[in-house]
């Protein structure tokens, strides 16, 4: 028997897509039964109360949660988000309902042993409800009480050998695509670089001292599966300098219809016979491909590595050698001044594990030093860049200006020349001037 009537939420149990309502009910029933005899450390019926308070929101169209800023684990400034219900008498099970963010493994691969271990902690000490995963990438454990926070942290670190993720004005939990683990497009080991920098910057992750949040994301190639160019303050996108490798026999197999184009991604509709001219050559953004006499010809120097030809004929074309990353800076969601994509800061940098990625860390740290010095409170680095100019950032990061930095040169001639840019400097002799010009 359900604790609260939920006629509106019940309507979300039908339809094909997995119903979160059915799942929460399933958890509520499992806790009520408690077949394993778990000594639940927070209210057994908190999933029921969550459904109750959610039904109330579905009825009145308003949220019933308040933010809390104090709760956390000792010595960390992030990783826990405080939440309180604004109807605690009606829904005591969720009166205190804090979120715990747990650092996810890169590429989000799991063994069932590890995942079960996390679930056992959350069964005992939390609501039994999770998000797999949060928007930034963390494992999100949804809803527990204040006294459980240190206990959860202790068990995560001591028993599961895993740490909390980030929140607040710190380095947020970095995320990578699955990279080399299962993708032939990965231009570098995105997971390893992500893991290495995450470990290097644990202090920045747990003890906030930045003007605002700061995100790292690592995409293995320009396809951008973790959205590094759109969602990270420093985005690392794999790239390459060498020519795309062509297997002409496989090209012929695509043209002949023996291999489905685009890895079979369009198989659900009859798009007609594969037309290499229309589907590959004509769509190339830099028009560097031609198909002549049964051969695919590429002017590699003009390629901009958009990945379309490779994506369309993965068995015929492969990424080139001389691989590395491009680093983009300053992406963010619209608040406040509008959305920003990451701007290209470093066109190419080697990903060198042998020296512990020192060249990349030098860029990261000089960018941080500049932002911590110049950034205003609650200002993302993308906004600091806009306020002070891209050149100021590039200069701080020690990166020489390059035409690749811009879509096109500036539209106005208001160049802020400095004295040292100009012959003779700015110290001028008025007496000498007056010899040439009367008052």
């Amino acid at each position: 028997m359900a604790k609260h009537k939920t006629p509106l939420l019940d309507q979300l149990e039908s339809g094909p897509w997995p119903s979160f309502v059915s799942d929460i009910k399933q958890e509520a029933a499992s806790r009520a039964k408690n077949e394993k005899g778990v000594q639940y450390q927070v209210a057994v019926d908190c999933p029921e109360d969550l459904l109750g308070v959610l039904e109330m929101s579905y009825t009145d169209g308003e949220t019933h949660w308040k933010h809390g800023g104090i709760v956390g684990v000792f010595g960390y400034g992030g990783g826990v988000i405080g939440r309180y219900c604004d109807q605690p008498q009606m829904f005591p099970g969720v009166a205190h309902f804090h979120t715990v963010r747990v650092a996810q493994p890169m590429g989000m691969w799991y063994s069932t042993e590890f995942l079960r271990g996390i679930m056992d902690i959350w069964d005992l000490r939390g609501s039994g409800l999770t998000n797999m995963h949060g928007a930034t990438g963390d494992i999100v454990l949804l809803g527990t009480s204040t006294p459980q926070l240190e206990e959860i942290f202790w068990e995560l670190t001591h028993n599961m050998n895993v740490d909390l993720g980030g929140s607040g004005s710190n380095l947020r939990t970095p995320a990578s695509c699955m990279g080399m683990s299962r993708c032939q497009y990965a231009c570098y080991d995105a997971q390893e670089l992500c893991y290495n920098l995450t470990q290097e910057y644990q202090d920045e992750l747990h003890r906030p001292a930045f003007p605002y949040k700061f995100k790292f994301k690592f995409d293995g190639c320009p396809n951008g599966c973790v959205a590094a160019i759109a969602r990270s303050d420093l985005g690392f996108l794999g790239t390459f300098k060498g020519p795309i490798k062509i297997n002409q026999e496989a090209v012929a197999a695509y043209v002949g219809g023996e291999i489905a184009p685009n890895a079979g991604a369009h198989a659900g509709r009859d798009w007609g016979k594969f037309d290499i001219q229309k589907e590959v050559v004509d769509l190339c953004p830099s028009k560097c491909i031609s198909y002549e006499g049964g051969k695919l010809v590429m002017d590699h120097k003009e390629c901009v590595r958009c990945m379309h030809c490779i994506n369309t004929m993965p068995q015929a074309l492969r990424i080139g050698d001389e691989r590395g990353v491009s680093i983009f800076c300053g992406a963010k969601a619209p608040i406040l001044d509008g959305p920003q994509m990451g701007s290209l800061l470093v066109p190419f940098i080697e990903v060198n594990k042998d020296d512990d990625y020192q060249a990349i860390k030098d860029v990261v740290e000089s960018v941080w030093d500049w932002w911590m010095e110049e950034g205003k409170n609650r200002e993302r680095i993308g906004e600091t860049m806009k306020r002070l100019g891209f050149a100021a950032l590039a200069d701080a990061a020690g990166i020489a200006a390059d035409p690749r930095h811009v879509q096109e040169p500036r539209h106005n001639p208001y160049i802020f020349w400095k004295a040292e840019d100009v012959e003779g400097g700015w110290d001028r002799d008025l007496a000498e001037f007056r010899k040439r010009h009367q008052r």
């Binding site: 933010h67 960390y76 929140s167 003890r207 605002y212």
Partner: protein
């Protein structure tokens, strides 16, 4: 750092106490301004020590984090966490 850590920490506490009539939470760069000649990393080390000594705590809006004296301010009481 050029400063003596203990006297620098005392200065941080004094700064927070003096402002406590109007506010109890401070941005990180409020503290870096107290020590204009020091590196931000060194100022952060002092704050980390103060947190570990249980003299200061973090406060987080979820997106922004601030520092305050342990137990100070109205939020602890209003959240029932005092």
């Amino acid at each position: 750092m050029a400063l003596d850590p203990e006297s620098a920490k005392a200065e941080i506490i004094k700064f927070c106490e003096e402002k406590s009539a109007s506010k109890s939470k401070f941005y990180f760069n409020d503290f870096t301004k107290l020590f204009p000649d020091e590196k931000t990393r060194d100022v952060k080390k002092l704050l980390t020590q103060l947190v570990q000594e249980e003299k200061m705590v973090f406060w987080s809006s979820g997106s922004t984090t601030m520092y305050g004296l342990t137990g100070a301010g109205k939020q602890a009481h209003s959240e029932g966490e005092d």
